[in-house]
Symmetry: C2
Subunit: 193 residues, 2 copies
């Protein structure tokens, strides 16, 4: 016997204000103390809020960090344009790999993955990536070029990069990233060649 309770969410004034204050406080304390010394009570104090508010809204520190990280991973600008589709993707991949493999980038990814078992925050990150790729693809189509096969780009360009970052492997060779894009455009030879 389960009652379906309609629970309306309040998005207005105070809630929005507190969310902003908590996010701000979190970012400030991360840069001041680092993640090691970060605690919910400390964030609450900085934000002018009681700890129980954070615990009830976010559930705990990992979920809060994931929320903040996911927000940071949202691209601030549209991907750079370039004369050709290949060059545009090349440029985007280079920047993507640089940002994600940097110290702060790895920390953000770590935070997002630690957030929760629920794919709430990870899903957001995937969407950001797809959105960027779609912009690049649409611009190219407007010039008469073929569209990007988005799924293949994710599988064979984005995934290899993220795999190495997530599993702590080096990503210092810029030529390797370019090779991923080249392989996508030029095709790959059958085995044994």
């Amino acid at each position: 016997m389960s009652e379906t309770v309609i629970r309306q969410v309040r998005t207005g004034g105070r809630s929005a204000r507190i969310q902003a204050a908590v996010h701000e406080a979190t970012e400030a304390l991360i840069s001041e103390l680092g993640r090691a010394a970060l605690t919910v009570p400390a964030i609450a104090a900085r934000a002018g809020v009681t700890p129980s508010t954070i615990y009830r809204r976010w559930g705990g520190l990992p979920a809060l960090l994931a929320d903040v990280a996911a927000r940071h991973l949202r691209p601030v600008a549209e991907p750079a344009d370039a004369p050709t589709l290949r060059e545009a993707l090349q440029a985007w991949v280079e920047q993507y790999a640089d940002e994600m493999s940097s110290g702060p980038g790895r920390a953000l990814i770590h935070d997002v993955l630690n957030g929760s078992a629920e794919p709430e925050f990870t899903g957001r990150c995937c969407s950001y990536t797809i959105d960027q790729l779609r912009v690049i693809s649409d611009r190219a189509m407007a010039r008469g070029e073929p569209p990007l096969p988005l799924e293949e780009v994710v599988d064979h360009v984005v995934a290899p990069i993220m795999y190495r970052i997530i599993f702590g492997l080096d990503l210092t060779d810029p030529a390797w990233c370019r090779g991923l894009v080249d392989r996508l455009f030029d095709g790959s030879p059958p085995l044994e060649g």
Copy 2:
């Protein structure tokens, strides 16, 4: 002025016994209570150990879970053999994807990634994968077939699968996994085709 202290680690009797007891207790409590209700004191009590022992040796619950998970992710057997290299890889990928995308598999991966910023446990998992692929490759070479390009297999077969699992995407289409291997062996066409 830094003193380099040689700190020898003790691997003998008691340490090994306690490590085994703690691992056993962890696994038992995971299946009894689930990860949500899991705590270090509970594990310590079950293992007949004081909590401080666990905190000092592992550092905390996430690191302990990562250690246990990494141990579980170690392959129990050599990969299945098959008449040809392609079939052997095909079979391995199918099993790999099945195990990793299952509920328990995703939980183990999550635990390993949450373990620590240090690539201690993630590195182990990568090694397991590479080792399995190397076995498949070596067996094929003994039959006169070409070796597997290990790095390419990781980049274009393993990475796409792991990316989808880690970011909470579906992985229900077995044909998609086969397609990854086919693409590796048959090559991929250049764009715009």
